[in-house]
Subunit: 241 residues, 2 copies
């Protein structure tokens, strides 16, 4: 649905601080949206992501940046929020075949619900999220049928969806891209990947491990494009320069 | 979908501390479920609800009670979380005709998302919520089509929904009941309404105002049944004894 107003179009962007959402930010800006970015503090062990999100959100065209506290830790159930070991050395095929312990129950549903609330409050109809169904880590809430179901829910759930003359739209520009496509697209749009953070299990100094699912997918992306990942790694990751 | 296991069936119950969710708790117990109750601290002015929820959750058959912090206050946009005046003296017809300022954007979507996360972590397939489409306050996320869309989303969003052999089910036993029906049902099931709290705008001592939408709907329920509401009110509400 096209939304035409006198002022520049605005959208909400879910910004994790990782490679994917930093790329989506650049894509949304290139499409002419001004952005309100939304990050979450959810008891994750990698609070370093939030620092990366703050840096990424300094780009011109970002109107506001919010960090919402989300009490996922109290609910538990994931290696990202509880002390279960993060799996290392899985191949992309392993990742696609099974949902890993790093899966956070209903995470994207909770995050999109907050984005929807913020969109309604700000009078904004567009929400960007960096989910990816191709080179992904086996999470069910990264699939196109899930996103379509959420968009449908959004338009039933809200005063804006019921009374408004527009509809909410969930934008997923990375959905069908490989990690290589994502990196290529981001580099073309001037994304500074040196300030992004993807690792599930960084060192105390914040260095990426190079072997968790997130690191391996990221390194695969840079390897496909044939450029080095600009962030430093602990030791030598499988694709690291 | 029937779920048969050796142990007693368990369910998540969203427990606000009000009349409706206290009644749903009794209905779910009567249906043979053991319950994990989930309440939210979301910057609401009526934190007194949380005290009521704790008291209600003491009933036998409740296995656990959790309070999750939800950062809705940072997002704003409702008289329940921000200092906008709560509307008073609206008739039930007024309430059905327009969505009031007490509407919290995407609230039930956020709450159900947390319930879904908890259900998945606990290995539970049933979620109870006290929404009511008949005598309600004009909220879009209390309608049957909204609940059906969330149930569909739940089964696409989660590892349990994708890999499991069951499906998530959202139970809404109050959906088509009048407030009178709800009170009648609750009284028959032994609900102690004296420990519930419904008012959007209580006095500093916690006394209900008697004139906000929540109070008026509650008092209408007791009036329909012909029994006095056991809680005290400031001054005389329109139906108060």
């Amino acid at each position: 649905m096209d939304v035409t107003t006198d002022r520049q179009r605005e959208a909400i962007l879910l910004l994790s601080g990782g490679l994917d959402s930093a790329t989506v930010l650049a894509i949304a800006l290139a499409e002419g949206f001004a952005l309100h970015t939304l990050s979450f503090r959810y008891g994750q062990r990698h609070a370093r992501e939030l620092h990366a999100a703050r840096l990424i959100a300094k780009r011109p065209g970002v109107l506001s940046h919010r960090v919402a506290e989300v009490d996922l830790g109290a609910i538990g159930g994931s290696a990202l929020t509880t002390p279960t070991p993060v799996p290392k050395g899985r191949t992309p095929n392993d990742m696609a075949a099974t949902i890993p312990v790093t899966y956070v129950p209903a995470r994207n549903t909770i995050f999109l619900s907050y984005a929807l609330a913020l969109a309604e409050v700000l009078g904004v109809w567009d929400i960007f999220i960096g989910v990816n169904a191709l080179d992904y880590s086996g999470y069910p809430d990264c699939r196109p049928e899930y996103i379509a179901a959420f968009e449908r829910l959004a338009n039933l759930a809200t005063r804006a969806g019921v009374e408004g003359d527009h509809g909410f739209r969930i934008h997923t520009p990375l959905l069908q891209l490989t990690k290589g496509d994502i990196v290529r697209r981001g580099l073309a749009l001037g994304v500074d990947y040196s300030i992004t953070h993807s690792c599930y299990d960084p060192s105390d100094e914040g260095l990426a491990c190079g072997t968790c699912d997130a690191c391996q997918l990221r390194l695969k992306g840079f390897a496909e494009v044939g450029v080095p990942d600009p962030i430093p790694y602990q030791g030598a990751g499988p694709y690291s320069p």
